[in-house]
Amino acid sequence: MDSNKKINCRSDSSSEDLPAEKKKKIINCLKCKAKPHNVNIRKNYPLCKECFLSFMQHKFRTNIGQAKKVKKGVNVLIALSGGNCSRALLDIFYKYHKGAENPKSGKIQRFKDIAVAYIDDSIITGESHVQKIKEIVTPYDIPLLIRPIEDIFSISLDDNNDNYKIITVKNKDGKKELEISQNTNIDNKTAMKELYESIPLLADKECLINNIRLVLLNYMAKISKYPVLCLGDSSTKVAIDVISNTCKGRGSSLPEDIASETELLKDVVIIKPGKTLLKEEFIQYNEYFDLDYIPEKQYNSSEIAKSIDLISAGFISDLQENFPSTVTTVVSTANKITVEEENYSSYHCSLCLCPIRKDSEKWLASNSITEVKDRTDYNYDHTEVYKNIPKYYQYLCFNCHILIDSINLQENQTVYLPYYVAEKINKYISASSS
């Protein structure tokens, strides 16, 4: 509501209308009204340092409190990328946890144990941050679980499955195919690297990495008996995801992708208690406590031009600059989006585990004509084109079609997909045949 007006009210007259003396006046903290303000990240909400920190803790506590699927006294696994937001969130979470543990505060302990999870993606980035992550986590004296991203190739999401199978992506008669076969003892590192490199576009690589990182984090939470997985997403990140996912054709799972509370794997609830805080606020928090974090990777303009995530990030940050409620508006809009369940298959995507829209398989083919038998015959059968739809489309969501389509194989080259994908596809096949 408040946010709506800001965006439309971008009229250039608003600042001109302010009387000159109002601009110069020292503005006091809006909360305690006693001290002069130190931060004014939300533009209309100046706060002193103390009030700012308690504002952040309050937002965090509210979000934790609103998580309905999270039972009291359970263990929480906190995902840490080491970036600004997840770094600050770890500190906030830890302090909240310690405070809650303190019997004097008179509160019931909300969680039992907390731990940190880190996915090491150095195989892809060529840069290891493991040492830095250890330095960040050590002072908290809580467990740190580290897994390399290539481990995705050897995990099973099914409790009672020891029949390891693998998916080979190959070209057959000029068409891409997924083939399920017995695991031939592939090397995880090589498989990860080859899969990543077979995808030409950064935009699609991003999708792949986002998907498998999230699956791996969920898996870690599940096997280590942490029923709650805490992600460090800021509202800024969520707003970027809303735009970016929309542009990548991932809208069909937007409610899951941006939910404050959701379940991707059975028995693991994902929460995002930083979802109402801006990235700039986390940065300010780190600054106040002098907390070390892994700096964001800097990209040059030609790299940015190949990434939907980075273009979306730039778009949101430009708008946020001029209309400070952009992020909150986008997030609150997305929160209100509900999808019509009847349009969805009961089966979830084998790769990203998100819902599949029933029409996704034929959608593109039904809206385009790629073959013409006779240009003078207008009584052609348009449904003929459906025969050309790749078979793997039925196991995947629209966004993952794009991802698998983009895999670019050299002649006779094959790449592998993680084992859990085979598991999911097998389940689908046996469910639809029975």
Binding site: M1, S3, N4, K5, I7, N8, C9, R10, S11, D12, S13, D17, L201, A203, V242, I243, N245, T246, C247, K248, G249, R250, G251, S252, L254, A305, S307, I308, I311, F315, D318, L319, T326, T329, V330, S332, T333, A334, K336, I337, T338, V339, E340, N343, R357, S360, W363, L364, S366, N367, S368, I369, T370, E371, V372, R375, Y378, H382, F398, I402
Partner: protein
């Protein structure tokens, strides 16, 4: 970029569809290189498929094509006329044009529409802001300044089209909104936080039988292809943009879309796919249609948007809008 090899390849390249013709366009939707003849076929027939799958028409329906003289509506009139004959839709097509009263812009484009009407042998009705509302767009801008004029114009045009359709006895209006426009609207509605509009902006048809329906046969047609089609078919259209530029916010979204398309040419289709996921059927039928207390025209509120705007104009619009700090009051005016 590199020297000899790709050049040889390009010379030998044939149309991806007929394998014979010389390719003249790379289709953003499919990535195929196609020849002129194949392009005509897929361009026209994809629109036909959209019409069939969207179940757009009833036989013998009188359908008004919103014609501005610009490329979209010119191609729309041409293709609708063609498909109506080719596939026997049995539609009674008429052209409906709005004269906003924008000197230099509308005068010339109206001449184009008049020529189109003769070329395609379709009846034409022109309704003007001045006669409907007592204000021309030039007069409005003079009074209200250069801000938000797309908003005002959009509201007035929308109602003018409806009224024109009523005069013509048509209950169905076709507009030239293309895939690019729809993708842009999806993004705009997310950024503006307009959930109801987000939930219906990808519908191919809005409204229902009890009111005037609006359909977008170009929902899955790329702007670039519309331009190419008009160019190759040598269609007679007016190519100057409206002299009153769109607001900066929409401009941002447009630049963003162009950047996205450079990453992936299907981005526009991908956005429409996403937008369809956000659809909500209940947001299509507006709650309890009433008639405006002032002008007697159908409206979802006691007083219709056009009347609110005109009231503002008659009272002196700039002060009226700036005074209201919450622009929520006129947020609903956005189309």
């Amino acid at each position: 970029m590199s020297n000899v090899k790709p050049n040889i390849k390009r010379q030998k390249r044939v149309c991806d569809i007929c394998k014979v013709g010389k390719p003249v366009i790379k289709r953003p939707k499919t990535g195929q290189m196609v020849c002129k003849e194949c392009f005509y076929f897929v361009f026209e027939e994809e629109i036909h498929q959209t019409i069939i799958q969207g179940n757009l028409f009833k036989e013998n329906e009188r359908v008004a094509i919103g014609a501005s003289g610009g490329k979209d509506s010119t191609v729309l009139a041409y293709v609708m006329n063609l498909l109506n004959k080719r596939h026997n839709y049995h539609l009674d097509l008429v052209l409906l044009s709005i004269d906003e009263g924008i000197t230099g812009y509308r005068d010339d484009s109206l001449e184009t529409v008049k020529r189109n009407a003769r070329q395609y042998n379709l009846p034409l009705k022109i309704v003007s802001y001045k006669e409907l509302y007592g204000w021309s767009m030039d007069e409005i801008v003079k009074e209200a300044g250069n801000k938000n004029n797309c908003t005002f114009c959009g509201v007035l045009r929308r109602q003018a089209l409806d009224r024109g359709a009523v005069m013509l006895g048509a209950k169905h209006i076709l507009t030239g909104h293309n895939a690019d426009d729809i993708a842009e609207t999806v993004l705009m509605n997310i950024l503006r936080g307009d959930v109801p509009r987000l939930q219906r902006c990808t519908f191919i048809t809005t409204g229902n039988d009890s009111m005037i329906k609006r359909s977008k046969p170009f929902k899955y047609t790329y702007e670039k292809e519309i331009v190419m089609y008009a160019h190759y078919k040598k269609l007679d259209y007016f190519s100057t943009e409206c002299i009153y530029a769109p607001n900066a916010f929409r401009g941002n979204a447009r630049v963003f879309l162009k950047d996205l398309e450079k990453v992936r040419s299907t981005a526009i289709m991908d956005i429409i796919y996403s937008g369809e996921s956000y659809e909500n059927k209940s947001s299509n039928t507006l709650p309890s249609m009433k008639t405006c207390e002032r002008c007697g025209y159908m409206s979802s509120n006691k007083i219709c948007k056009a009347c609110i705007l005109l009231e503002g104009l008659n009272k002196g619009l700039p002060r009226y809008l700036i005074k209201k700090k919450t622009l929520i009051n006129y947020n609903f005016l956005f189309i």
